[in-house]
Symmetry: C2
Subunit: 346 residues, 2 copies
Amino acid sequence: MRKSLHLHVVTWHRTLTKTLHFHSFSSPPSCTFLGPNLPDVWVPREDNTSPHTLLPEKFQWANDGHSAAILEGKAIAKQIKLKVADEISRMKTEIGKFPKLAVVLVGDRRDSHTFIHIKLKACEKVGIETVVSELPENCTENELLDVVSSFNDDKDHLDEERIVNVVSPEKDVDGFHPLNIGNLAIRGRKPFFIPCASKSCIELLLRHGVEIKGKRVAIIGRSKIAGLPTSLLLQRHHATVSLLHAYTKNPEQITSEADIVIADVGIPNIVRGNWIKKGAVIIDMGTNQVKDPSSQVFRITGDVYFEEAVKVASAITPVPGGVGPVTISMLLSNTLDSAKRAFGMV
Amino acid sequence: MRKSLHLHVVTWHRTLTKTLHFHSFSSPPSCTFLGPNLPDVWVPREDNTSPHTLLPEKFQWANDGHSAAILEGKAIAKQIKLKVADEISRMKTEIGKFPKLAVVLVGDRRDSHTFIHIKLKACEKVGIETVVSELPENCTENELLDVVSSFNDDKDHLDEERIVNVVSPEKDVDGFHPLNIGNLAIRGRKPFFIPCASKSCIELLLRHGVEIKGKRVAIIGRSKIAGLPTSLLLQRHHATVSLLHAYTKNPEQITSEADIVIADVGIPNIVRGNWIKKGAVIIDMGTNQVKDPSSQVFRITGDVYFEEAVKVASAITPVPGGVGPVTISMLLSNTLDSAKRAFGMV
């Protein structure tokens, strides 16, 4: 488990997107940047292997044969992708242009490669062109800036003081620019883009008929790409949000009071069945690569101990097949939106 | 009580600041904007007049003669003001310039006038020049933009599409621009300015030796000028924050679990003694003007029922004399910082 955590902490995983003119390069460049993902250092609890010990009786994982509804993401993702593909097709016909996504990968982290492969395949299917640049883990900031600049035709918009400012908020398909995060935090304002994982979370809840307004939500983990923006987005939807992190002294207690639990920790199976209130809805954002000791094969596992949680929750997303595919489809959708804005189609 | 709430909802209260060159107007203009304060519509609970009924025994307001420490703000405010005055004095001597604060007041809300009078007096004492523009409540956006523009020499920086974008984040002494809010939300980033009320809250906690890291915090109310940014700031200080609002179904239950309670509701005395965990620290951001039925005189009262809360909390800010004066001093401090940045002194 520590190995997976370690990987999350030390590696940078950066995504850049660019929307290019089809025949010439005269259209506004579109380029985005996903900053280093440095989640809190969560230490797996020693008592993590023995459930039933943390909370009073009423919070304990039930053994009565109940099984939660599974919030599948694949069907939702498919619908979104079909819509995106259709719009891109029309864009090509009408103005002869289409979106392009540029991905810059720093370091050779295994799961980054996996995710990027999935993203590229998804782009290809809907008609988004892709280009990938790989840089070594120890690359300098200037080397990275050079790559970003090479994707950016309009040098006037570059602010080389800080890498992230290279990306204009209108092209920030990851929704990660502080201006977009600020406009997400403040009610009544509209960010250009909302982070894909957060949109995926809301999409899964709403499409499965889960009411958010007035519900108590525990978000476990405050990564910049998932937990933090999701806390802001759910607050905008009038949930009462508690944001838990590595400094939280009793995450299982606060989690056990929540109607909706969002896990974004980066440690496989850390959220146990006895953390969950009976009937709660669980969104598992974890995508941890765990090596099977017998077969030596890597498999993706979530932050929630699924086999326990499914017995007490009313609904739960599977990993893989829950948040992941919907998040990918949101990246496609955001990329399309960016292209439409650049081409004056909105 | 409803009257006070109503006033909070319908009136705009905008602050603009400008940093001007002393002898000429060649220095960069400094201009900020505080958006409309539209808090949630909180309805005073019917059972608000009878404490002891909401929570189980252990949460009840104690009657054992205990009295919380009073977290006085005046002394802290005085220290900050002295420091600001000293720096402005040196600025005048060294470069012959000083900061100037412009306030634009829309509508004739009583408490806005009161607060602005306090701000102007505080500015005068530390050497910040002030100018006030008053506009009627029903003024158009363009009329307001004209006033903002009249304070802004550098027309090139104006984006008249949306009023708030008129203010450049570097001059936003209220810390209210979405770029500043976004940089406040994201760990590792540094906003140019942090909202004054939120800074006041942290200042009061830290100067009175209250540890924030790992503490459970309930923030009741999510106004753009206080509750929301304070939730972001306390999260940055590693508190476990729950943000409560008008859609929260059981605010007293969640509040009763908190080590630190921040009240930003806008309803006098809504937070009762039995909402408070024994030993909790209470920061009361409420500044409600209540008319005394006998004397017909207005007095300022907080959101917390002080006489009850003082018996169960370990420490509590008074209203007036707690958050208010420190907030004013933070506005002075932010204005000084803006001037220093404009004059290249940082």
